[in-house]
């Protein structure tokens, strides 16, 4: 593994190896001394052109706990805002001798483009509406921990604003590779166009009715309604969205008892998820955050620790 750009590049074995490694990393999180010497002398840059709290801070912690030197750059306040091109900015950073760049960018495909320019390893930390691989891995990790097994044969519903979601694409690829069955649930306006043929060839389901899907799920993943990406007209009012597609207390009762709730955060309480559901015993929201660091440590370990990794 040289880059992590898309879940689609990973085999089932590679995904499981990343998740198994994360189990070992998770144990470090509970130690008094949260530090491993493994990536000593390596340099990691978190390059975030979009806002982020949990992804950036967990990548930073992951790097620090593995003893790498990490620095953070954001689009705002860097030369990008002075008009420098993405390529010039990236090449400047690369020239400083960086081993790995964690990139978040509003343009789909930007991390792949950067990977073609530089010699260092690139981790896609979310690009436009394309992918967010580390989020999918930590979701799979969290669900696997709670549900047991390798998620093969499990039924996961992904619900919400699918059109604008990069988490959807990565999660779909990850869950399908692991052998889970997936049903996408969204209002017709937020179902990605052309999903029909994809669903047919890749073998996942789609539905407009959340209530029909809930009784058979092992996990339900509520995606955030991304108000910042909505130029309007996708649903009449937030209130109506909450009634039709929100995880309300009534819907919580329709789910099997063992089923779990995931949300990649940040949550819009009262919109896609009710406070009852967010704070329920089945909710894995905080487990997801704590798994985030372990999974990202695993990613950094696999990209930087072995022979032939970049220098």
């Amino acid at each position: 593994m040289r880059h992590l750009l898309s879940i689609g590049d990973l085999s089932r074995e590679e995904i499981l190896e990343l998740l198994d490694t994360a189990e070992s990393m998770h144990e470090v999180q509970h130690r008094e001394v949260k530090k491993l010497p493994t990536l000593r002398g390596r340099t990691i840059i978190n390059f975030f052109f979009e806002d982020s709290t949990r992804t950036r801070s967990s990548f930073e912690l992951a790097g620090k706990w593995l003893s790498a030197d990490t620095i953070n750059l954001s689009g705002k306040g860097s030369s990008v805002s002075k008009g420098e091109s993405l390529r010039d900015t990236v090449m400047t950073i690369d020239a400083m001798g960086v081993d790995l760049m964690v990139v978040r960018h509003m343009a789909s495909g930007a991390p792949a483009q950067i990977a073609s320019w530089t010699g260092c390893s690139i981790v896609n930390a979310g690009d436009g509406t394309h992918e967010h691989p580390s989020q999918a891995l930590l979701d799979a990790y969290t669900m696997r921990r709670r549900l047991g097994g390798d998620l093969a044969g499990r039924h996961v519903a992904i619900v919400g604003d699918l059109t604008h979601s990069r988490v959807l694409r990565s999660n779909l690829l990850c869950l399908r590779t692991l052998g889970a069955s997936v049903t996408l649930v969204a209002p017709p306006t937020l179902m990605p166009s052309g999903i029909g043929p994809w669903a047919d060839t890749d073998g996942f389901g789609t539905s407009y009715e959340l209530d029909d899907v809930l009784p058979t799920v092992d996990a339900v993943m509520m995606l955030r309604v991304q108000r910042e990406r909505m130029s309007g007209g996708f649903f009449p009012t937030p209130r109506e969205y909450a009634v039709r597609y929100g995880l309300t207390p009534a819907r919580l009762a329709r789910m099997p008892e063992h089923a779990v709730i995931c949300h990649p955060g940040p949550m819009n309480r009262g919109l896609e998820i009710s406070a009852d559901a967010a704070d329920a015993a089945q909710s894995l929201v905080l487990d997801q955050v704590s798994a985030g660091v372990a999974v990202r440590m695993s990613i950094l370990y696999h990209l930087l620790a072995g022979e032939g990794s970049t220098s």
Partner: protein, 202 residues
């Protein structure tokens, strides 16, 4: 993903026939029982003992040692495992290694007499990594080392406190430990290792 993978380089997979057997069956059990007595003697009893096996075969040996200590003294000595992969100094010379679990009973090494258990003591680099990893877990009162086989050729100032068998070897040889729990048989085998001789000539 088999745990045996990492210690056997490609093309040198040991077969049941290769090399000669230097320890077999009950001899291993006798060596472990002697080590158990030695540990109790050095420690003047079983108090504060904590056995930590280094994956993968060291963990099986640590469990057997724990059982032997129980037979002798009638007390349960805690047994765990300590994966040292993240502390190795040769990570960048090999493909990414698979991690094994670290499990320290009670989550504390503070004040304990930790006995590290491994199958073969060779360069001493694994033990060096284990000492570093222990230091990050806390401050044991003492650390001792028990190995089934000491084959010499140390590259660091490290020695074992308890040795099942001292085995003079050449660097061009390989020592394979097979244990019932993992490999279906108990034996220590020594054989020429073409890969390693090659490596030395370079």
């Amino acid at each position: 993903m088999s745990p045996a993978r990492e210690r056997v380089p490609e093309g040198t997979t040991p077969t049941a026939e290769s090399g000669r057997v230097v320890l077999a069956g009950e001899e291993i059990g006798r060596a472990l029982r002697r080590i158990a007595h030695e540990i109790l003697e050095t420690n003047k009893g079983p108090q504060d003992l904590l056995l930590l096996g280094i994956p993968t075969r060291g963990v099986h040996l640590a469990r057997r040692l724990g059982a032997a200590l129980h037979d002798v003294e009638g007390v349960e000595v805690p047994v765990g495992s300590l994966d040292v992969t993240m502390y190795r100094d040769d990570l960048r010379r090999q493909p990414v290694r698979h991690l094994e679990p670290t499990d320290v009973p009670g989550d504390r090494v503070e004040g304990k007499v930790v006995v590290l258990v491994d199958d073969v003591l060779f360069s001493g680099r694994t033990v060096r990594a284990a000492l570093d990893s222990l230091a990050d877990l806390g401050r044991p009162r003492a650390v001792r080392l028990a190995v089934l086989v000491d084959r010499g050729h140390r590259e660091l100032p490290i020695r074992a406190d308890h040795v099942g068998k001292n085995l003079p070897t050449s660097r061009g040889e390989r020592v394979w430990v097979r244990l019932v729990e993992q490999d279906g048989a108990d034996e220590v085998r020594i054989a020429a290792d073409p890969a390693r001789r090659e490596g030395e000539r370079q």
